[in-house]
Symmetry: C2
Subunit: 207 residues, 2 copies
DNA sequence: GCCGCTATTGTTCAAGCGTATAATAATGCG
DNA sequence: CGCATTATTATACGCTTGAACAATAGCGGC
């Protein structure tokens, strides 16, 4: 019988390709459309290979979820500069591509819908959420200190919850109905809203 | 062979039970766990009956999605009283049970993750979103008029987008990590935030 | 240039999927 | 009460699924 030729992928690379293919399939066909066979096709390999790299499909999906969380939070977690700039960049990053696009929210929603079902995904989610909000809370504490505003823990907590909610909500609106907004409109609304919430300028007119 | 006894359900009732069972299964087992057989068990009937009431499983799921949207938006859409009260109630309703609970967001997320895949679900989603935001926008127009603030269409639009985002985002936070917040904390933060955004009291301390 | 290791293929399997259909029990009506 | 209607059960069918496994092709070390 004629066996296909193939090449052996370098260390770790195939693994990454499989995770990426998993995400592609989930975003295009939904969780239930992301079958082992479909994922393998997308990755350009045969289905059997999946089980060479992962103990089960579920484990591969869980790792794919980690990759999604990372792609959604990494950029915003590494903003640099003075507190005002960091806060501004944090908002802008979360409300523009590639963080804000329809693929992202499809993936995010697919996993969120499983959080109640799968304890493994639930833990990954919880970690990501706590990290994200703490990042924002630290950002706000620095910012308020610079602005000579009250920055006690309780105040920062409340601001972090509100602004986290605002950013998440606008992110969702943008992802799901981007065509309903003008270019840059969501970012502008977010900046103005945060200024109103904090009662302080974040220099959103600078850029 | 022994055939089970059963009773014929009254007009429309069985249909409703099947939709409810569909939602139960989706929230408990995820979209892919909501199989025809599992749904039938939950509804206390056999699988074959599904196709007596629905053309296909997909059609049943689509109707189930309509039911979810309705349960998430109906209450808030029918607030009554003066503009200030209506705005306050609108916020409170969306951030307390039964709108804000983990079952709701599981269902919401499950469907959102399919919006890119299934055009039927996409249309249902779009309708629901537009209706929801228009409701909020009208509410804000009335409120701003009463407060003698500028209430032109563009201003209302921006406020509606921001507050819709805020409420949605806080709704998600509450649904996914309710245990991280104190009783009533999210509602309080939302009220304070909306007051800051609009620069007007909504009497959130009254109740 | 051969050899051993293993990454990859290709096939198979049982379980579960949505759907189709025939038999039948429950109900309303004369 | 008996009959027609139909809601419901029960079974079957073809297909897809995740997984298991043997065969083998590619590749690094010698």
């Amino acid at each position: 019988m004629n066996r296909r030729t193939f090449h052996r992928a370098p260390e770790g690379e195939r693994r990454q390709e499989l995770i990426e293919a998993t995400l592609d399939c989930i975003s295009e066909f939904g969780l239930k459309g992301a079958t082992v066979r479909q994922i393998a096709i997308r990755a350009g390999v045969t289905a059997g290979l999946v089980r060479h790299y992962f103990e089960s499909k579920d484990q591969m999906v869980a790792e794919a979820y980690r990759a999604v969380i990372a792609s959604l939070t990494d950029k915003a977690a590494h903003v640099e500069g003075d507190p005002e700039t960091r806060l501004r960049d944090f908002i802008a990053i979360n409300l523009t591509e590639p963080v804000a696009d329809s693929r992202s929210i499809s993936l995010w929603a697919a996993f969120i819908s499983q959080v109640r079902v799968d304890p493994v995904l639930a833990e990954i989610h919880r970690d990501g959420y706590v990290t994200f909000r703490n990042t924002l809370q630290d950002l706000l504490a620095d910012f308020l200190a610079v602005k000579n505003k009250p920055a006690d823990a309780e105040t920062c907590r409340a601001y972090a919850i509100a602004i986290n909610g605002l950013v998440d909500g606008l992110w969702i609106e943008g992802c799901l109905a981007g065509d309903l907004f003008r270019e840059g409109e969501l970012v502008a609304i977010a900046m103005a809203s945060v200024e109103a919430l904090l009662g302080a300028s974040i220099g959103s007119d600078k850029q």
